[in-house]
């Protein structure tokens, strides 16, 4: 635990007690959705922030996970928990195949390839009617019985998964594999000469990202109960990227904080659009775009790293201040 720091205790307390503060189902449902997005975002920050690979196709893995779990439970009546495992594994396999296919690409080429992959998957979902229900989608996806089929049960399940994913990722960052990811990001030549198999680790990062996204997709399917292809495209992929950039790509906590910020904005816009109908529709895209631009201009490192460095220099100033005070005192006593 020592690598992870005290933040984790604050986090755990918040997760456990938040439902006491927000007993209203509406707020609880916001928190569940936030958790679901956070899982994808954490995976993406491993792919993008640590390893430095841009993926504009993360919503596709999310969709594959959602449909895998939905199809297995509705058509084959498999238990949702088993289906969730499949929802994690199948997107991971897709991620593996994709990463093999695009090995060696980086920068814009990688971005374009993942973008194309995202489109292909979304089209596949809409066209494969016999299985996915096409554009009309699927209904009646069973909800998960986690200590009762309640909003609260779902909250604890989702945030339980977030916590596992978060701890796994935080551990990873400060480990041999995490350092290999970060090394590749900075210098492939140096990484290779230290014995790091660049292709292998880039692929691994992709697989982890796909696995987390798929798991989250499965939870999403069971939570909302109906699916259609619409959320699993370019728009949502961009939302995931925005989340990660806002929070701070290089920091796993950043993914969590970024998700909160974005979901709060989204909820705010939704409630405002009740009074101002002009704010409905794709206005959120414009807002995210604006935020993205502002962050890149004024805080390129993202929220969490920024706050960390501010805290650090504050602490430093305080400690130097105490030293000065002490010195003054010493001087006085010497007199």
């Amino acid at each position: 635990m020592k690598n992870i720091g005290k933040g984790i205790y604050v986090y755990l307390a918040l997760v456990i007690f938040a439902p006491l503060l927000f007993q209203d189902d509406y707020y609880l449902s916001l928190l569940v959705i936030t958790g679901i997005y956070a899982i994808v975002a954490i995976g993406l920050s491993i792919v993008m922030g640590l390893t430095g690979q841009i993926s504009i196709g993360q919503a596709a893995f999310w969709g594959i996970g959602a449909y895998t779990s939905a199809v297995l439970t509705t058509k084959y009546e498999i238990s949702p928990f088993l289906a969730l495992i499949a929802a994690a594994i199948i997107p991971a396999v897709f991620a593996f195949i994709l990463a093999r296919a695009i090995a060696g690409l980086s920068g814009y080429y990688l971005a374009m390839a993942t973008l194309a992959f995202g489109y292909i998957i979304q089209i596949l979902i809409s066209e494969w009617e016999s299985v996915t229900g096409g554009a009309t989608g699927m209904i009646g996806i069973p909800s998960i019985d986690f200590f009762g089929e309640s909003e609260l049960g779902m909250y604890y399940l989702v945030w339980g998964v977030v916590t596992v994913v978060l701890l796994f990722s935080l551990n990873l960052v400060e480990s041999r594999v995490g350092r290999a990811f970060r090394a590749i990001h900075k210098s492939e030549i140096a990484a290779t000469s230290m014995g790091i198999d660049v292709r292998k680790y880039r692929l691994l990062a992709f697989v982890v990202g796909g696995l987390f996204a798929g798991l989250s997709g499965g939870l999403y399917a069971h939570y909302v109960g109906t699916l259609d292809p619409q959320p699993f495209g370019f728009h949502e992929s961009i939302v995931f990227i925005t989340i990660v950039v806002i929070g701070g790509m290089t920091n796993i906590w950043g993914a969590l904080v970024g998700t909160f910020v974005i979901e709060m904005i989204r909820a705010g816009l939704t409630s405002l659009s009740d009074t101002f109908p002009a704010l409905s529709g794709d206005v959120d895209t414009i807002v995210y775009g604006a935020i993205l631009v502002l962050i890149i201009m004024f805080m390129p490192e993202g929220l969490v790293p920024k706050i960390q460095s501010m805290v650090q220099s504050y602490k430093h100033r305080r400690s130097t201040a105490t030293v000065v005070v002490q010195k003054n005192k010493e001087r006085e006593t010497a007199r």
């Binding site: 551990n171 041999r176 594999v177 995490g178 090394a183 900075k186 660049v198």
Partner: protein, 531 residues
Amino acid sequence: MTAKFLQVDKITMDFGGVRAVDNVSFSVEPGEIVALIGPNGAGKSTVLNMISGTIPPLQGEIYYQGKPLSKLKGHEYSGAGISRTFQNLQTFDDMTVLENVMVGLHARTKSELFSCGIRSLSARREERSMREQALEWLEFVGLADLKDQLAGNLAYGKLKQMEIARAMVAKPKLLLLDEPAAGLNHSETLEMSKMFQKIKYLGTAILLVEHDMDMIMSIADRIIVLDRGKKIAEGTSSEIQANPKVIAAYIGEEKEEEPIQTSKKSSSQRVKKKTILSVKNIVARYGPVEVLHGIDLHVSEGEIVSLLGSNGAGKTTLLNCICGLHAAKSGTVEFNERDISKTSAEKIVPLGMAHVPERRQIFSTLTVEDNLYLGASHRLSRGSSQQIEKEIKDVYKLFPILEERKNQLGGTLSGGQQQMLAISRALLSRPSLLLLDEPSLGLAPLVGKEILEIVKRIRDEWGTTVLLVEQNARAALAISDRAYVLSTGKVLMHGSAEEIMNHPEIQSAYLGKSQTFVDSPEVQSADQVQA
């Protein structure tokens, strides 16, 4: 063929029609220190790149312990016992120094993704042992107290040392070093020489590229000389020093113990001129760490002023504060009586200040010529382009190799060629004040000597004022009017070049004798590292 430890067999490399390495063969014995020297662009780094697997040879083969290296993949070299450092630093800047060195252990460790994610018992045990080994090597190179600093905040010379720790932690049998002493001052270089002797006694063979002839002569068992891609000589240090071909191509005529001459005339004759740069009480920090604690300094028009001091003393940071690349925490910088403390770097250049940073920062995806034009870009509107073309021609006269390579991409130049380009680019902005951060870094001795001559000529002919950071303190003082000595972020002393030159403390720490020999290696402390 009897299986040699390392046998380089007729390797050749071409870059876009230019033969960078031409049919080169040599061998290295276990535990031997072999030096690879030669003019800038001779192909030394390219040879190292081929041996370390970074680029495969076009022709020829390299045998390592009897087996052809072409069978290995790039990432398998480290595990096979071949480690390296890089001429243009390849450090992981957003990791701590300790983490950087731990990456060096990658090939010697096993924990995979899942066990790392759950922090399994074996992963934790391995992590602990990696940490311990990395620390031992950081202590060995003398960086243990900086282990938790971000590598991006370290001085150039310290990073060079960190790269050595990162390579050595893998316990290689063959260590490839590309200009390890670049950016180190005299006493630091001596320390490093001792370090290499210890490494040798640990049984690791070293193949090193270096322009510091004192260092080479004192530690190399054998020296191989390259020129224009071809091997022109091989032998012991005394053989090489006497070889006329090598003297002509590389070392230059040795003027025995040059008497130190400071430009006395200029400093005493000069009437008090107006102050062009005035720095008052500059405080600077990286994150929470304060690296400059209130620096005062002034430079008068037409002066050459040297900034001396060991690695990490804050020289580069000070230059960065002056030219606006680093925001000082407090204090003021006045340039031509104008406060530029809050002015951003790109607005300072048109005011007449040019900066040649230590890490060169040339535009690697632009050609040499385009890099030069960019240097003059802010004058394009005023000066006619013919005038600038003429000036570029003048610059080509200073560095003929740049003209030869004017269509090559900046990033593919050899280290020394990049240095020449960076200096040329700064000259083309016709600055009234030129900030030079280690201009002779990575230059062959002949060119390195010349570059300081050029600096002096620029001052004499164009009246350019120069603030100079240079590890070769002796050479720097010889052309300077005044000098400041920095130590751990403070001005330790300042005065005329002559005063500084004759100060006993400075002499022992930065100047040394011109020819140096290394004490016998301390085998005891090497044992500690091995344990």
